[in-house]
Symmetry: C2
Subunit: 228 residues, 2 copies
Amino acid sequence: MRKLYLILGEAGLELVPRELWSHRAVRRYAEKRGKRPGEVLLDISYHYSAMRGLKDWRKRGRPDIVHVCLLEALESPLNKEGLLEVYVHTYDGKVVRVDPEVRVPRHYLRFVGLMEQLLAVGRVPPRGERALMEVESVSLKELVGRLSPSTVLLLEEGGERLKLTELSELLVSEERPALVVGAFQAGQFSEKVRALADRSISIYGGVLSSWVVVSRILAALEMRLGIV
Amino acid sequence: MRKLYLILGEAGLELVPRELWSHRAVRRYAEKRGKRPGEVLLDISYHYSAMRGLKDWRKRGRPDIVHVCLLEALESPLNKEGLLEVYVHTYDGKVVRVDPEVRVPRHYLRFVGLMEQLLAVGRVPPRGERALMEVESVSLKELVGRLSPSTVLLLEEGGERLKLTELSELLVSEERPALVVGAFQAGQFSEKVRALADRSISIYGGVLSSWVVVSRILAALEMRLGIV
């Protein structure tokens, strides 16, 4: 394996969509933060009442899940060894490229501020030669086409059950495998995402949080490669 | 191995100490949250200016680290299989027992609210037969004496380097091993904590975040036990 592509799929990471700008809870929250409604992250912990009418609302407004997944992935030994490339594919169809050397803010509110800047401006830092995070205007399908991974594995509860040793064996036998892990709270991958996968895999008999899936697979790979 | 005790050691989790109650940044923060200064968590992201004069300030005010570690530990397959018991030992010498079935709030601000209630009242929920989290008035030494683990392993950067397979082998050969992982940002374990350990171990050549240490060891154990 030369590199692992980790894609956080259909992540609940987006600015408040226009249809909710005039909602009372949203307006009050934005005002308190000194921003306009369209400049703040949708967050179900604050915008529950506003979100109840939104399409697929159970999959959306979960920057906290993306946060913990990024903390796990970017602080991993695999990333420190230069073998990982992380992308966030959002529910609303954006792709964020994350530089392996980015230091994700550990504190949630700092992370939220960074994500708001990223989604509003398209990159962080806003200027400078090297973007640490960048919104790319491609679909997940186009991203996969461009990365052209040697295989695309989707992790989901209902997938074919593999032991972690089997999965890590499979991954190291591939030159540049891509893993898609859902970064949403409830529900399934859309058919569009599922259609991109070569295989759908499950690593445990019960439901697992996204960050646990990420850390388990990275750990197994690091062990298999002799890094830890 | 019948059970693993995971102790988050010298965690930066405490209410704002009395000496900072009158500091401007603290007063303003508490007011904004509708609480008294002694009722809010010390958090370096909000109280940096106030904390600079505090003893060991670099180890303190990091509830965010405890949060991610608890999310990793309590959502782990090992915990779901009933093989894990988690304790948080705080910088200021408290011990929090965490029920294996507690559902840690994923959202940071909800977690902060819960911890404030826990540290003020001593347990959550405040009433009822079964405490999901409970502050026990024992020192770490007393806790270790009471649990009487078959061995106590301290995880730290400068420890004896073990591969994860070696460490998991060692752990499963013990009946009830205890792991102490530091849940602070910078600095070393105090001598008091170090004195309780049978061995000091390191799993990687570089610095690792606390939650990565937790997830790596749990993953290795889960694999060794055939859980994942």
